[in-house]
């Protein structure tokens, strides 16, 4: 029984096929990376799963129910969290309030929501910035805040869109650590969309799916995928 099962998912924008009968699955507690060059369709896949766009064809089964046709907020409530490639902090609110809004997905009670928010801030190591305005944070912390806000909703699966882009080496090391702890300490599955940074892919993924022009090019354990000649060709171009 898979947590997430995507079957023959297709999305056309006019004449462009952004995602072309893509199928993959994610088990509970698994971290899967979707890699592929810029424009491969990673963000579109995330937008389809979270209901930002409607699929042209295909099925998305999460936790036993079909997500096709559901709205973003319903999908979030069902247990899929996400972060955005271009981070979207709630600017006028503090770090704590950003996470608090997420926590209200689980409870209407203010005290309970505050407890959840503080727990998540602790987990993501943001407690020291509790009262800072989200607007002024540097990119690394803004990405972490996005993750924290999404975690506060209590997801079973979290979709991380370009978690590493724009981070410096020490920030990406922290991010890798946090993604590992999601799985190990909280049992949350993750699908990470990563453009490059193979070191990241290697260290966090149980499995890797390679996407190119909206199609699945390869799938397997990180070291298998990294040595697949087709994958190398997609990234570096064909020899000769």
């Amino acid at each position: 029984m898979f947590l997430l099962e995507v079957k023959d998912l297709t999305k056309r924008f006019g004449g462009v096929v952004a995602v072309d009968s893509l199928s993959f699955s994610v088990s509970a507690g698994e971290t899967v990376s979707i890699i592929g060059p810029n424009g491969a369709g990673k963000t579109t896949v995330f937008d389809l799963i979270t209901g930002v766009h409607n699929a042209t064809a295909g099925e998305i089964i999460f936790d036993g129910s079909n997500l096709i046709g559901k709205k973003s907020h319903q999908i979030a409530k069902a247990g899929i969290g996400r972060t955005f490639q271009l981070v979207k902090p709630l600017r006028g609110l503090s770090v704590f309030e950003n996470v608090l809004v997420g926590a209200f997905a689980r409870t209407g009670d203010r005290g309970e929501a505050r407890r959840i928010a503080d727990d998540i801030l602790e987990f993501t190591d943001l407690s020291s910035l509790r009262d800072a305005q989200a607007e002024g944070l540097p990119i690394g912390l803004r990405k972490r805040l996005e993750l924290a806000r999404s975690l506060a909703t209590g997801p079973k699966l979290i979709l991380l869109d370009e978690v590493m882009s724009g981070l410096n080496p020490s920030e990406s090391k922290q991010a890798i650590e946090l993604i590992k702890r999601l799985r190990d300490e909280r049992g949350i599955s993750a699908v990470a969309g990563v453009e490059h940074v193979m070191q990241v892919v290697m260290s966090i993924s149980d499995r890797v799916i390679v996407l190119n022009h909206g199609k699945k090019l390869a799938e397997g354990r990180p070291e298998e995928v990294a040595s697949n000649p087709e994958v190398v060709a997609a990234y570096l171009g064909k020899p000769g």
Binding site: G92, E97, R149, A152, T153
Partner: protein
């Protein structure tokens, strides 16, 4: 607690105000200020908290006012029933307006609310059997009236205090945080489980109902309504000004805005005769130039200068 002391002092002042200001004109200004406190605060729930800048709130005010007027002209009941009937009539209309306008975002939403406001004004103008058309409705007074302004003062005080208290309650609740999330980024809000359409409609429903209550009070106080008085676009703009000048999305903002703008416009009208609007305009420009986030934002920055920890009013 220092804030409790401030609040008690304010409460005593508000309760004693009609006895401190015994002139009928001063009492009239007090009533107007409180009416606009209620209007600005009601608008702020939708415009400030949820960030949906409506320029059609005169419609809800007018419908509230007409509810009272029609009750008085068509039935034997007291026009005060308008305070209950107003929100009941407004609610379905607001939900239809919201259902249409919330498909649009940003300036397009604002334009659609202007259109909705104008539609309501034109309906009132042309539906003569019910509204009296351009002639309007004269309301025969019921209960106390004419002689003293004091009862009106206490009624509008209750309306204003209840509206502000509700804003304070909302600002600390799940609803308030969801509205602020919608204001900041609707896509993000959806991604963390906020049903943006539903919560925007809730904000509109509360905001429109409270505005209708204020409208019904207005009709009872002035005893006359016509479309140019209770339904003009200028009224919508004036309501928005209270909140923007005071501080969008803060509980105290519309209160401060209404006090400053209403009191100063009355003073200017008395002191500067024909030039009063010119001076009023200059005041607005100065505030917007030097306090772009409103009076509450300005005060917060001044407080920060003197080393006090800045405190967000909305949190």
């Amino acid at each position: 607690m220092r804030s409790r002391l401030y609040l008690s002092t304010l409460a005593i002042f508000l309760l004693a105000a009609p006895f401190l200001f015994t002139a009928r004109y001063s009492q009239h200004v007090l009533i107007l200020v409180l009416l606009y406190v209620a209007l600005g605060s009601a608008w702020n729930i939708l415009g400030g908290f949820a960030g949906q800048l409506s320029l059609g709130h005169a419609a809800f005010f007018g419908i509230g006012a007409y509810s009272a007027a029609v009750i008085a002209s068509k039935t034997a009941l007291s026009p005060w029933w308008g305070i209950i009937a107003g929100p009941i009539v407004v609610l379905p209309i607001a939900l239809v307006v919201g259902w249409i306008c919330f498909r649009l975002r940003g300036p397009y939403f604002t334009l659609a609310t202007i259109a909705a406001g104008e539609v309501v004004r034109l309906v009132a103008l042309n539906w003569s059997e019910l509204t009296g058309g351009a002639v309007g409705v004269v309301i025969r007074p019921s209960g106390f009236s004419g002689t003293s302004k004091v009862p009106y003062y206490y009624i509008v005080l209750v309306v204003a205090v209840a509206t502000v208290a509700l804003c304070q309650l909302i600002s600390r609740s799940k609803l308030g945080y969801y509205l602020m999330a919608i204001r900041e980024d609707q896509e993000t809000a959806e991604s963390i489980g906020v049903d943006t359409t539903k919560y925007k409609l809730i904000a509109l429903a509360i905001s429109a109902s409270l505005t209708a209550v204020a409208g019904a009070f207005y009709a009872n106080y002035f005893l006359f309504v016509d479309p140019t008085i209770v339904l003009p676009l200028a009224l919508s703009v004036e309501i928005v000004l209270m909140a923007i000048v005071g501080g969008l999305g803060t509980v105290a903002g519309p209160v401060l805005g209404a006090v400053l703008l209403k009191v100063s416009s009355e003073i200017f009208r008395n002191e500067f005769a024909q030039a009063n609007l010119l001076i009023y305009g200059a005041l607005l420009i100065l505030i917007i130039l030097f306090m772009p986030d409103g009076l509450t934002g300005g005060f917060r920055r001044v407080a920060a200068l003197f080393g006090r920890k800045p405190r967000r009013v909305s949190a």
